[in-house]
Symmetry: C2
Subunit: 164 residues, 2 copies
């Protein structure tokens, strides 16, 4: 028996998920994302950060001080939503708005000292949550799912970038 078939037999009566549902990519992606979000939220609770917050802080660290909209463009966040997110992160003392060197309309967003300090800790908690989430998979599949999802996401990203 395959591992999948074995798992399905282990489910209590009436708790099973019908096969046609389980074969829908949308169901699988959303359910997995939801479950990871739960795990992540709990792991990052000490810092009061969401997974999305963490992604944005990481993005700023990687790309340096950028205008809000540059960050939002890559992270798929509307510019009005970015205002709220940066407001929030600024209130917590993790980032600060400074004047942009060449465009006086724009802000440049910097990590504060405190932001630089907690980011590695939060990233560590995040990675641990991710590992926990994936721990039910064999090691080989953990590598495979990263590789395939990266390929998929990058393909679509490339496809869109070339349209503009």
């Amino acid at each position: 028996m395959t591992p999948l078939a074995k798992m399905k037999r282990a489910l209590p009566e009436g708790q099973d998920i019908p096969e046609p549902i389980l074969n829908r990519m949308g169901f699988l992606l959303n359910r997995a994302a939801y479950k990871l979000r739960e795990t992540m939220e709990r792991a990052l609770a000490p810092h009061g950060l969401t997974g999305k917050d963490l992604g944005i802080l990481l993005f700023i660290r990687e790309k340096g001080a950028l205008p809000q909209q540059e960050i939002g463009k890559c992270m798929h966040v509307d510019r009005t939503t970015m205002v709220d997110i940066i407001d929030d992160l600024e209130k917590r003392g993790l980032v600060e708005r400074k004047s942009h060197p060449t465009d006086r309309r724009a802000h440049a967003i910097y990590l504060t000292a405190r932001g630089k300090e907690i980011l590695p800790q939060a990233l560590h908690l995040g990675k641990a949550a991710e590992r926990k989430f994936l721990s039910l998979l064999p090691a080989r599949d953990r590598k495979e799912i990263f590789r395939i999802l990266k390929h998929l996401v990058l393909s679509h990203h490339l496809h869109e970038a070339n349209k503009e």
Copy 2:
């Protein structure tokens, strides 16, 4: 060069996604789910259905007439949200509330004749959208991602079911 590295080099200046972001499972799952939702919405527009609606109709067909909360429990939808969703599907004439054979508090949700008629068409459009979404992957990876995600989702589902 790996296919991934090749793709990254093809991106216009400033449009790249930093590697540490790309290595976050949350980013990958949410970005993939978002992209598929877009594709799915467009594909199902002729029926005015979302991917989630389609999943619920499919669930009813597979499991037969069930109370609203039974559907919601499996599909991770709150019972108050289920009221709205069933209201909506009922207004469109795709499902109907009938009295439950043994529990007079509950409703049993049935597909109407029209629901049974459009469901195969909608499923077909949905599958086509899914294929389009995955078409950028090699055939082998398309199989692998299904297998791994099913394993992951079922493991977590089993894990939760056994807690209660």
